[in-house]
Amino acid sequence: MEENRQDKDLKQTELNTEADGTVSRVTRHTWIGDKDEVRPDGADRPVTRATFADTDVRSTRMATTRLVEREKRPYRGFITDEEISHAEAAAEIDRRAIAESRAAREAAMENMTQTRVYSNIDMPEEEKAAPEEEVQKKKPRKKRSVSINVTDGKKFRRLVLLLAVFVVLLAFEISFAVMKARTATLPGSTAKLRSKTATLQADNTALQESIDEIGDYDEVKANRDSWQRIKDKLAE
């Protein structure tokens, strides 16, 4: 009889563990025993079964906390098969509640991280302060990334607008820097060009003088051609 009860209690504990999962965010108090037994807090009263699921403290704001209650059952001695089946059913309900809670938390987490894009990526205070998260902090920090969904037009437009503003500002500043640099170097280049132009012009003047010394282009050509004709006549 005693063994039977212990076995059943052990089974219930296993169910609890299974329902909680590794994160152990669900606390369930299940007490099943004789009416002679005294509960750890010293109370001597009918044992009730209370199963509830809680969520991670960090996500309390966003996650939906659900309390699952079942009817209180009077003490009826050693746990029966029926009670075990009830316990299994309760565990199943717990499992579902935890799964729903987890899904809600994950959705909330995603939403929160996306929100950070528009709030300078500051971490919420409660997140930093949460002492019960120490275990998690010891774990290698998961590399966060933000997914901007194309179908989410509003967010996408905001990101594009932000990038556009950045690009425009950057272009504006680059143009400023380039103009400033060029303004500093242009007079030197201009002076060099003018100097080169002056040299070329002097060269051009000399070239023109040399051309003028030879004579008019058409006259020189005509003279050459007439000598050619004379030569042809003499050589005939």
Partner: protein, 320 residues
Amino acid sequence: MAEDKRQARGIRISDTMLKVLAALICITLVAAVFVVPKYGRVFKAYTAARSEYNAADAGYEAAEQKNADLTQKLEEMQGMKTETEELTAEVFKLAAQTEKDIQAGKSNKKICYITLDDGPYNKGKDFLKLFDQYGVKATFFLTTANGDKLPDQADLSAKSMYPEYLKSGHTIGNHTYSHDYGQGGIYTSAKAFMKAVNNQQKFTEEATGGTYTPKIVRFPGGSSEAGDNAEAIKEALKKEGLGWIDWTVDSGDSWGSDRVSTDLIKNNIKDAAKDQKIMVILFHEWSKPSLEAMPSVIKYLDKQGYIFLPLFPESVMVQK
């Protein structure tokens, strides 16, 4: 499935990237705060500097293009000049041989040397224009009897005419500086003659910028005017490496205004052309009838087969 696809089309940005982006935007914004107030001033300064640079660049490009054009033109003209010099040398060589062949009766060719004395005159420009028009080369025996002034246009410099003769390939001869062949003049002695010759040589060199020295002398009034000193003068000329020449045909343009006409000139030349295969015709640069008769003369002689040449030192007609 559709949800997955939509998820796959999403843009994933890592947290670090977001932080970097945010930092960059912050830096850019801060920089913009400093840039904006100065932008207008810098833009203005840049525009002004750019404008000056563009103007300088345009000036440079124009100068560069002009330089390229002038260089090409000069090279082409130098090429033509060299070609002309080579052609001239070939022509004189051929002409010297042709003259010998003509004199030996081995050639039917005819050569005409048109010579004009007493220039420079303003009319010389008209003669030059005509000669260019007909492709004729002639010889101008120049004097400086009127100083550096053109006798028919005193406000024009005589020196300025010298390059004009050379430009068209004509020959400049020495007709003495003073052209004074009266009593007590150039024919008084060989020394007096040579002084007049040398002065003219010097003047010609000055007028041509040292590029040209005459090689042929024509006695003012003809060598017959030299009288007893003729031989001594000819010796003196030879000593100086100068040749001299008279004429074989007198156009008659200096025979007195009452006799001279274009017809007289043409007839004189036509008569000479009957039996002269090498003609040296005497004209004067101051003669209006000669200028008027010249086109007809050229056309006629060209029709007769004469080749118009400028005198050259190696010609058989030049006495050495």
